[in-house]
Amino acid sequence: MNVKRLSRIALSLAAALTVGQAFAATRGGQMTFGRYADSLFLDPVLNDANLDIWILTNLYDTLLQPTNDGKGVQMGLASSYTTGKDGKSMVLTLRAGLKFADGSALNASDVKWSLDRARNPEAGAWNSSLASINSIAVSGNKVTLNLKRPDPTLPAALATFNAAIMPQKLFTAAPGKNDAEKAKAFAEKPIGSGPFVLSEWKRGSYMVMKRNPYYWKKGDDGKALPYLDSVRFEIIPDDNTRILKLQAGELQIAEFIPLSRVAELKADSRLNMTLFPSTKVSSILMNNRPKLNDGSENPLSDVNVRQALNYASNKDALIQVVTYGNGKPMKSYMSSTTPLFDAKQPGFPYDLAKAKALMAASKYKNGFDVTVLATSGSADDLALLTALQQMWGAVGVRLKIEQLDAATKTARYRANDFQMRTAAWTNDINDPSQITSYYTLFDNIESVHTGFKSAEVDKLFAQSQQELNLARRTAQYQQIQSIYLKAAPIVYLYETPYPVAMSKKVKGFFQIPLGNNLFASAYLDK
């Protein structure tokens, strides 16, 4: 049943991936896209949210780009790059005749300025992805990055939104005393290097991106991309309304379709209900510390208990109830779409007998009470935890659900003031290092505040961060994933795709596993 479902997902994905190339593209027209919430701040370096990140690369291009399947990197504003023999430098060659959306030239100096701004440790939340850069030199159309150490993640980092290339002259000419103020002014009407340029933005209501006539990339017809004249984002927070609007033809694409409605929309002959592969993993983070903040004993510090909860969670049933059959069990802490995911990881297949045995071997033979923090108003959290309440009841664990609004939940989490919480993750960068540093390194944020700490993992990770040999790096990551699984600091749940419903006319649109929505080669079929 599982295999069948997976192959069905795979087929629909394959169909989605090939659709763009199958026909000659139509040029022109406006595509209207229903979003669940508006962007906040369109600065590549200083933004904080997926609402910005997932559309930013349409406005600002990067030197390298993630491929549409999310597995690799392709050339962007740079036409080629070479890595030094010792791995401690990288030379990128820019394409000839690059221009920003206002027609002014994009030079190597803009590249240096943009990357220097992006890697400034005092600015924004993303600078660590470029931390290996020591200095940047330019000459002609060549950009040389001198590194502190070999960095296998650098190509992926240069294909990530925060490394986008911005026009130095226009940015510095923006009003404001310092970088932050200039960024505020510039981000209201940004001029970038991406396939589109912002033309109108009524906050909370709609946003229009016009075609950038100076974009470098060519379409299938040999002429410059994008195909569309414009993309209009409509902000429609209520899921039902968004779907109704799509069905009425007032939208061509609607994002974040509730998984409960996927089957129904698949049956709608006017729509293409697409499940784009994602890097999204959902899990329950557990507090592994011996004592809780209030000084009381913490049953979750016992690895037997943590494993028991993992085995007692019936993933297939959860996938039915929460994702309506649109997910698959998590086997590693990282999604199966993440590079270096170890396909041999067993995960925790449902095994109630084993779970009971593990509980019996623990100090908590008679079970215990435990509280989980959920996000109030999240139907998924509710469905998940109501189901887990029953499943864990079978091994004597009485689950109490505490619903909190997101900000309170974050505050409690940051203070390690929780026993369990629901959590979801998507990668921002096409490399396993980001999720690994968050989930497994105590020195980052205490291993997503679980308190998990392993000297061995620390060592393996440090090695992998400068390991340019892919086979050796893969082996290091295999070990990290195995150690983590055995310690079970989290409850492994499921991976889910990005559910996007589109009119049948929409072709060539992609949401890549990182979440970025790409409109460059999208078009509306006649």
Partner: protein
């Protein structure tokens, strides 16, 4: 006499306004979770959160923060939104007209539905006409707003295609067209309250002695209707509208979410969940000001309509 009354009432608003300022300032800071955590999310490190709080001036003692808030307010500056990074005043200027338009529209639709039906129900009291009118509105009043909204949307919007699904539209006509369903949703709610009360007050007038007296004097029933009944209905309507205007503006939150209308209701919810202090403060003060003024205006209208009412 009126002028001095108005001035006294306006002066009374000042202490209320000051109290609202202090309460909202303290209340938002009492909320668990800080703006930095809210905008940075789960992944931020302690250093980044600290740095952000410093940049926002939220690491300073509360009295100093309050002083800055008051000083800026006196200069007409409500600060910048923390998550959207634009001035709060501009944000409110963009969003408030939408909500006010929706509220006024809903009030008009509510009155248009309620007054004739209430008169009809009162004149035909205790007949099946009366029963049907009251039952329909009772059902409307007993169902959650989001449920009514979604039903209207899927029936009149999606299935019949008479109205657009959500949005605000362009120009006055566009607004009227796009906001019809949300205004109807809110209007139904208001009408349910109005009908219940108006019907009772009209019955009271119809059975009052002075109406009997008028009838005995031979006044035609149409004259009685307009001179006594409708006048009283109007007085009650204005009073009720004034009392409910705050609830109406506040009630726009869910309607705005369902119908994807970029008004202040949604802005407020987003700001609360995002701990966007300046936006919550600015919107609360705006709301308090509007509601106070509406109360004053309805009292004045009431006085003009009802000679018995005294302005005290």
């Amino acid at each position: 006499m009126h002028a001095s009354y108005v001035i006294r009432r306006l002066l009374q608003i000042i202490p209320t306004f000051l109290a609202v300022m202090l309460v909202v300032f303290l209340l938002v800071r009492l909320l668990p979770g800080d703006p930095a955590s809210a905008i940075l999310g789960d992944r931020a490190t302690a250093e980044i959160v600290e740095r952000t709080n410093r940049e926002l001036g939220l690491d300073r003692p509360l009295p100093i923060q309050f002083g800055v808030f008051v000083r800026n307010l006196l200069q007409g500056d409500l600060g910048d939104s923390i998550s959207l990074k634009i001035p709060v005043l501009r944000l409110i200027g963009e969003r408030l007209p939408t909500t006010l338009f929706l509220t006024a529209y809903a009030a008009v639709l509510g009155v248009l539905m309620a007054v004739p039906l209430a008169v009809l129900a009162a004149v035909r009291r205790n007949t099946w006409v009366d029963a049907v009118i009251r039952a329909v509105f009772q059902v409307g009043l007993s169902l959650p707003v989001f449920y009514v909204a979604l039903q209207l949307l899927s029936l009149l919007g999606a299935r019949l295609g008479w109205f657009p699904i959500g949005g605000y539209g362009e120009g006055f006509g566009g607004h009227l067209y796009h906001l019809f369903l949300p205004a109807l949703t809110l209007g139904l709610n208001l009408a349910a309250i109005l009908v219940r009360t108006l019907r009772n007050s009209i019955i009271e007038v119809l059975t009052a002695e002075y109406v009997d007296f008028a009838r005995a004097k031979g006044l035609r029933s149409r004259v009685i209707m307009t001179r006594h009944v409708l006048r009283n209905a109007l007085i009650a309507t204005v009073t009720l509208l004034g009392l409910n205007i705050g609830a109406l503006i506040g009630g726009a939150v869910i309607t705005e979410t369902v119908f994807a209308i970029p008004g202040v209701g949604r802005l407020m919810v987003d700001a609360i969940f995002g701990r966007d202090y300046p936006v919550i403060q600015g919107l609360t003060l705006t709301f308090a000001l509007i509601v106070s003024l509406v109360f004053l205006i309805t009292d004045l209208i009431h006085a003009r309509l009802d000679p018995r009412a005294e302005l005290s």
